[in-house]
Amino acid sequence: MAETLGKALNLGLRRALESDDRVVIMGEDVGKLGGVFRITDGLQKDFGEQRVIDTPLAESGIIGTAIGLAIRGYRPVCEIQFDGFVYPAYDQIVSQLAKMYYRSQGNVRVPVVVRIPFGGGIGAVEHHSESPEAYFAHTAGLKVVACSNPNDAYWMIQQAISGDDPVIFLEPKRRYWEKGEVSFDASPIPLFSSQVVRQGTDVTVVAYGPMVRTALDAATAAAEDGRSIEVIDLRTLSPLDLGPVYESVRRTGRCVVVHEAPSHVSLSSELAARVTEQCFYSLEAPVLRVTGFDTPYPPARVEEEYLPDLDRVLDAVDRTFGF
């Protein structure tokens, strides 16, 4: 069935609530309003105020109490309203949530999922278009995933909730309204795995979240020029699942990594470093990176200049052939 990514998440959350009564959803405006993006639409109505909890307006409080609920045996799914508002909860996430299992030598599990709509491209005001994934991926003890399409959204959210790891679950907000096929019965591939989403032979383009669509569009455009791009959807940012990337790069000899976040000390740095180390003799060109610039996110009317797009991806692909 074709669903929007947002609706697929909603359905995934609904199924998680149905299948385990320890699952609770919490956050600002998630109840009656159904969240500012309506991802939790209708859930409070159907599951009640104890399963879908409208919280006070404080992110540290949301994550901190979610940890307490998890210690009590619940499985909280927290919504952070926008990427730029997760930072007040940073201490609870990196010092508490990420480390509890380690510090307790495995005694205390805190299966908390933190949902964050992330990325730009929706014409929003400041703090509403951030890509904070590097901050979490660098943090040992957290797992970080990003979905890019409705089918993954539906399945990945359920997998994140049913596992015991604390998971930062990144949702490509500008793709909430894009439709795609969801197979409700097919059993999904494992959560922490990458996937080749388009096969190709000349160059490997690696992306995640909102940029997967961009990479696929670039591949389509390039095909018209007779250039064959393989596109890999990372899906998991921590830990990385680089097997498919290495395999691909060893075939293509060229690699471009795409994300919206600034480049300095980012996921693309890590990919470039690891792909180079593992495919040193296969690379015909250095791994190139197409990313946001190392500036704060700019005003909406100029965000298209900041965000990687089809042209910038193709330009980098071209440059890998210039070496």
Binding site: K32, L33, V36, L57, A58, G61, H127, D294, P298
Partner: protein, 368 residues
């Protein structure tokens, strides 16, 4: 849950002008305005409401990305804004368009942020209004630090001392930062007024999600006075805020003012309040409208007549048209502007990125 009057105005609720336009007395607060000043306040209220409506219309027509309307909160803002003295400094949220108006800031200024051409660009030192802060509560600490600086500069303790006002909403009272700012202000006896516009909602969350007692009571636990005022009463808000600011400038430390009001519109133009509150609640508050009561009062007191009211409406309408034209004419920022003003000291890394991007953009012009 809906949010009419369930957390009722306290006995301590300060009011000088009731919803029916009657002047009421209060043992501790009063105002003495000249007729001109009274008319000026009315004018402020009408103009900011009109400009706000124009901005909402602009958003509907796609000319703004989003708009945070102050509808219903005009008296709270004009009362506070006019209570400020020139030397005072204000730290707003994203909804204090009325404060900007009172500080003489060109009404085009806040629209840049909402149109997406800038992120708040007025001269904050000159107008003594810091830029808008969207991250809930963060500005209350900035305000407190600034106020500590006033003390360190020796600009406190006299009648013409300086004071600071920090704006925030009912929802913000839950944030750690706001509570930390209370700690700091109290411990350092900082000359700051915490002005909370309790408009009963934080987006869809009613007041009960943030507190189970009236918000102004929060202050006493931190060791400074809190007071609730009728935020739809511009006279009372003025009187209470002025006294709080004067106390601050005289060295008597912080005060929290809770302006009890109501957000008549949506949270922002992206919001749909019908999902979470009853129309009847909104109607009940319409009776408490801040402009209506001023108009009745001015009329009854013979301070203003219909000619005046018509004139004000006309002026407001004219300003709205002007504003609209200027918004439409706002230039988009240039593509390389994204690299401007990242670091006062510059950055070679960024210079490189800018140069690269410049070359990249130029490659299109030559026919890529």
């Amino acid at each position: 849950m809906t949010n009419g009057d369930r957390i009722p105005p306290d006995p301590e609720f300060v009011q000088l002008l009731d919803p029916d336009g009657e002047r009421v007395e209060h043992p501790d607060y009063s105002v003495e305005f000249t007729p001109d000043e009274y008319r000026g306040l009315y004018r402020d209220l009408v103009i900011i409401r009109k400009l706000d409506a124009e901005a909402t219309a602009l958003q509907r027509q796609g000319e703004l990305g989003i708009w945070a309307s102050l509808l219903g909160q005009e008296a709270a803002q004009v009362g506070a804004g006019r209570a400020l003295r020139p030397q005072d400094m204000a730290f707003p949220t994203y909804r204090e368009h009325g404060i900007l108006h009172c500080r003489g800031i060109d009404p085009i200024m806040p629209l840049g942020l909402f149109r997406g051409v800038d992120q708040g660009a007025w001269d904050s030192q000159k107008h003594k209004v810091h830029m808008y802060t969207i991250v809930i509560g963060a500005q209350t600490l900035h305000a407190t630090g600034y106020a500590m600086g006033i003390t360190m500069d020796g600009k406190v303790g006299t009648e013409d001392g300086e004071a600071v006002i920090a704006f925030f909403g009912d929802g913000a009272t839950a944030q750690g930062d706001v509570n930390e700012s209370f700690v700091w202000a109290s411990v350092f006896n900082a000359p700051v007024v915490f002005f909370c516009q309790n408009n009963q909602y934080a987006i869809s969350e009613p007041l009960e999600r943030q507190t189970r007692v009236p918000l102004f009571k929060r202050a006493s636990g931190f060791g400074f006075p809190g007071i609730r005022v009728d935020g739809n009463d511009v006279l009372a808000t003025y009187a209470v805020t002025k006294q709080a600011l004067d106390n601050a400038r005289l060295g008597q430390g912080p005060t929290m003012v809770e302006a009890y009001t109501y957000r008549m519109g949506a949270h922002t133009t992206s919001d749909d309040p019908t999902r979470y509150r009853a129309g009847s609640e909104v109607e009940a508050w319409r009776d408490k409208d801040p402009i209506k009561r001023m108009r009745i009062f001015l009329t009854k007191a013979g301070i203003a007549d219909d000619d005046f009211f018509t004139q004000v409406d006309d002026d407001a309408a004219k300003q709205a048209v002007e504003l609209r034209e200027r918004v439409l004419a706002l230039p988009d920022p240039g593509p390389l502007s994204i690299f401007d003003n990242v670091y006062p000291g510059g950055s070679p890394l960024l210079d490189e990125q800018r140069a690269q991007q410049e070359r990249y953009l130029a490659s299109f012009e030559g026919g890529h």
